[in-house]
């Protein structure tokens, strides 16, 4: 199985033509660099496991940014630290693919710390190869999160100190505290015995992905002779004698045996939905096909700009939506604009609704034709915005004082009490809607019921809402202004 050590695996290009310069046969890595060895181990595994054509290699920012010079497979180069996020997007789009996410220690443990943590925690079905050389190689030997205490780098010129920089991070151990990862192992490539183990670990990590078992993570301790300012032989010794001491080799987590095999391709195929079904899901089936004609509305009440306000929980926003939707069902134009976000948590809510027989420009209601005030603060806040001749509907259960304006029509409806009498305090808003359309003849009862029908799915709630609507309409007819009735009918 294993190829002659001098022969290039098929999964590496024979000639590195993507590399600028005149020498397409050698890599861009320094002599003694660990990256080249790790690349070869990965490529041999790709050959032997027969996955080259469906492998996507995600390269990081770091010395291995040029992974695509070498790997003979689909390549995606990712921003600094983001390889696990990029790999997530690839794997979820292509469940059949084998995604190898390759990162250095600065890339993975510093700038990308949260991305690897979260990908591991989600159990993304990817294989992560983490090359730990205890330094930032590419940018010229600065400190990495894995740099050892006392280790000199260009940004720790007197050696890393725990007081200033904290301690080197053991990423395997950190990730092993998470529930999801199936396999986490630290290996080295400092001699042939270690290389054999590294070779095995990489294959195991890839096999897990083929089997749909979940997240596998292989940390490889690797030399950076250039960054460490050592010759390659000393660098190997340093890995064995010093680095391994702080980063012990071996399996840190292994639940391979317990992890179930999953067929991601079949699962994705099963989830596919096409054509008409998509439309239904997106909302055609929720749409209104009704075209109900509105009643003859007196001029003063046509095309109103409505403001509805009250406590959060009084159904203010829903009242507005039902009003606007009923208008839509009646082939009128309508908009609904809410107060939104944390503002609502303070306990007040309001919304602006415009109903019009013409296309609506501004959806904002400042000058108000109709104010529906469900509590006292709402009346106090918005009373002055109502235009002369406009209408204020007041929840007289909660608002005892009179409306101060003398130049508006006032309709007082005790909607909280009426709702309690109906046995459902929640329908106070629908009673108010009934009062509004009853008083102004803006919309038909049927149009409101059609709107309610889309919002309320359960039959028994539909019934109580119908009662509430009638209750509001009856109330204004019987109580508010019997004299006005005659005028409206004419």
């Amino acid at each position: 199985m294993a190829k002659d050590i001098l022969q290039k695996p098929d999964s590496l290009y024979d000639e590195f033509t993507r590399k600028p310069g005149s020498d397409p046969l050698t890599t861009h890595y320094c002599p003694g660099c660990g990256h080249g060895v790790v690349h070869k181990l990965i490529a041999e595994a790709m050959d032997d496991m027969g996955i080259r054509e469906r492998t996507v290699f995600v390269s990081p920012v770091g010395c291995s940014v040029f992974g695509y010079y070498y790997f003979n497979c689909g390549n995606v180069q990712s921003p600094h630290g983001r390889a696990p996020a990029v790999a997530t997007g690839i794997k979820r789009a292509l469940p059949h693919s084998i995604v190898l996410s390759y990162q250095g220690d600065g890339d993975l443990a510093a700038i990308g710390g949260n991305n690897i943590l979260q990908a591991a925690n989600r159990g993304e079905n990817i294989t992560v190869i983490f090359v730990n050389n205890a330094i930032y190689g590419m940018t010229g030997a600065q400190m990495a999160p894995t740099t050892l205490i006392g280790q000199k780098t260009t940004t720790t010129p007197t050696g890393r100190s725990a007081e200033n920089e904290g301690y080197p991070i053991r990423v395997c151990e950190l990730l092993a505290t998470l529930e999801a990862p199936v396999y986490i192992e630290r290996v080295a490539i400092s001699d042939s015995k270690h290389v054999m183990k590294a070779r095995k670990a990489i294959r195991r990590g890839i096999q897990n992905q083929i089997d749909g078992k979940g997240f596998s993570f292989i940390e490889v301790l690797a030399a950076c002779p250039t960054g460490w300012k050592m010759d390659p032989v000393d660098a190997v010794h340093w890995v064995n004698d010093v680095l391994m001491e702080h980063f012990p080799l071996g399996k840190v987590k292994d639940k391979n045996g317990d992890a179930p095999t999953r067929d991601l391709v079949a699962a994705a195929a099963k989830a596919q939905v096409n054509g008409q079904k998509v439309r239904e899901i997106v909302g055609d089936s929720n749409g209104f096909s009704e075209h109900l004609s509105p009643p003859k509305t007196p001029t003063n009440y046509q095309s109103p700009r409505v403001k509805i306000a009250g406590f959060g929980g009084q159904g203010v926003l829903l009242l507005g939506q039902l009003l606007a939707q009923s208008a839509m069902v009646s082939d009128l134009f309508s908009t609904w604009l809410p107060s939104y976000g944390p503002e609502m948590r303070g306990g007040t809510a309001n919304c602006h609704v415009i109903v019009s027989d013409k296309r609506i420009g501004s959806p904002l209601v400042s000058e108000t034709d109709v104010l529906i005030a469900l509590n006292l603060p709402s009346l106090e806040k918005f009373e002055r915005d109502v235009r002369p001749g406009g209408v204020i509907l007041v929840n007289s259960s909660l608002i005892e004082r009179d409306v101060q304006r003398q130049d508006v029509e006032v309709v007082r409806v005790p909607v909280t009490e009426l709702a309690n009498e109906l046995g459902q305090p929640k329908v106070a808003n629908v009673i108010m809607l009934g009062a509004y359309i009853g008083y102004t003849k803006l919309l038909s009862e049927q149009s409101v019921l059609a709107a309610v029908g889309k919002v309320v799915k359960r039959k028994e709630f539909m019934e109580i809402n119908r009662k509430a609507l009638t209750c509001g309409m009856d109330y204004v007819r019987d109580q508010v202004d019997v004299g006005r009735e005659a005028e409206l009918a004419s």
Binding site: E53, Q77, G89, M328
Partner: protein, 352 residues
């Protein structure tokens, strides 16, 4: 045609799914969260992916990965989140990935507030990230366009292999209006550049790195050529009553809705006022504005910002006609009367 009454934010997701988008990666933020919430509800039902990412940075990079494979994928956020996504956006522009994102703008700078502003114009239209790149930027002003322009964003992004942004605001996102669902896209374009984990695509590479300055210059020149082609072909705007207008109002998104009411009010008062509403902010309808300068006396640009789009209007006119500017910031939205007063003032000046 059935009509559905939805929030602009929900309309975005309906459009996305009808456009064949099958992955959404996002992070919650007011006033954009309903986009993620609708995606969470609908994407799994159509066999797509919804994932709440660990940050906006992660989300844009997940989209980067997904789009690399040829999938239609998207993310959405609001201003602070867009600031975070800028690195990823620059990478997507450099790698020529048809990423689609939605920015439901809110008040800034910093944490600001959640009320509508238009202060991301510069960071989206001029490119907040590093490098010489352009994003295709679409500016809807109603729920129907939130759906339609999201679909168009996918189409244009794929057509030009370029990121496209739907730039909108808190009001347009939160407002509910009737929409009719457009026809679904049935034929997605083939993408022979994508890394699809197949034998046919195993030589494909998605990258934005060009180590040789001459190579990177060539890449940049190619991008600039592409941008010129987009400028040539994709400018979109909407005009109302500009033919005989003495004064033309210019505004996009929610502002254009208010301006429409201002025009109606002005016309009712016998004043010759018109409206130009850019639907594409990049490419910008500068040429059309220059043309209108021949027949009108002046322009009034209204923005919910310190004056960002107005720069593009001034550049287009190059001093040919006076450009007046009126703005509110911090999430304060002017009403029709407030702007109408400005219109009267400007008209008096123009006649003065």
């Amino acid at each position: 045609m059935p009509r559905t009454f939805v929030k602009g934010n929900e309309a975005v997701i309906k459009g996305a799914i009808l456009a064949g988008c099958r992955a959404f990666y996002g992070y919650p933020i007011t006033p954009a969260s309903e986009i993620a919430e609708s995606a969470a509800a609908l994407f799994p039902q159509v066999g797509g992916t919804f994932l709440q990412a660990e940050s906006e940075v992660a989300a844009i990079n997940m989209v980067y990965g997904a789009v690399s494979t040829g999938q239609r994928a998207m993310t959405a956020s609001s201003s602070p989140g867009i600031s975070l996504k800028q690195e990823g956006i620059s990478y997507a522009a450099g790698s020529e990935l048809p990423v689609v994102l939605v920015d439901v703008m809110r008040g800034g700078p910093g944490l600001g507030n959640i009320a509508p502003e238009q202060s991301d114009y510069n960071q989206v239209v001029k490119g907040g990230g590093h490098g010489n790149f352009k994003l295709i930027v679409l500016a809807p002003n109603c729920a129907q366009e939130m759906c339609d322009l999201t679909m168009l964003a996918f189409e244009l992004a794929d057509k030009y292999r370029n990121p496209a942004v739907v730039l909108t605001d808190g009001f347009t996102g939160q407002m509910m209006e009737p929409i009719e669902l457009p026809e679904s896209v049935t034929q997605l374009p083939t993408k022979d550049w994508a890394v699809a984990a197949t034998p046919e695509t195993d030589k494909n590479l998605i990258t934005s790195i060009y180590m040789e300055p001459s190579d990177l210059e060539e890449h940049n020149q190619r991008l600039q050529k592409k941008y010129a082609a987009i400028t040539e072909a994709e400018v979109r705007y909407d005009e109302s009553q500009t033919e005989d207008a003495e004064l033309i109002l210019i505004g996009y998104g929610i502002v254009s809705r208010i301006l429409q009411s201002v025009v109606d009010k002005a016309r009712a008062a016998g004043k010759h006022v018109g409206l130009l509403r850019p639907q594409t902010l990049w490419p910008f309808p500068g040429a059309r504005i220059k043309e209108l300068a021949k027949t009108t006396k002046g322009f009034l640009v209204v923005e919910l910002s310190n004056g960002q789009m107005v720069d593009d209007v001034r550049l287009a006119l190059n001093g040919e006609r006076p450009v007046h500017f009126y703005n509110r910031m911090g999430g304060v939205v002017p009403d029709t009367e407030e702007i109408f007063e400005q219109v009267e003032k400007v008209l008096a000046q123009l006649r003065g």
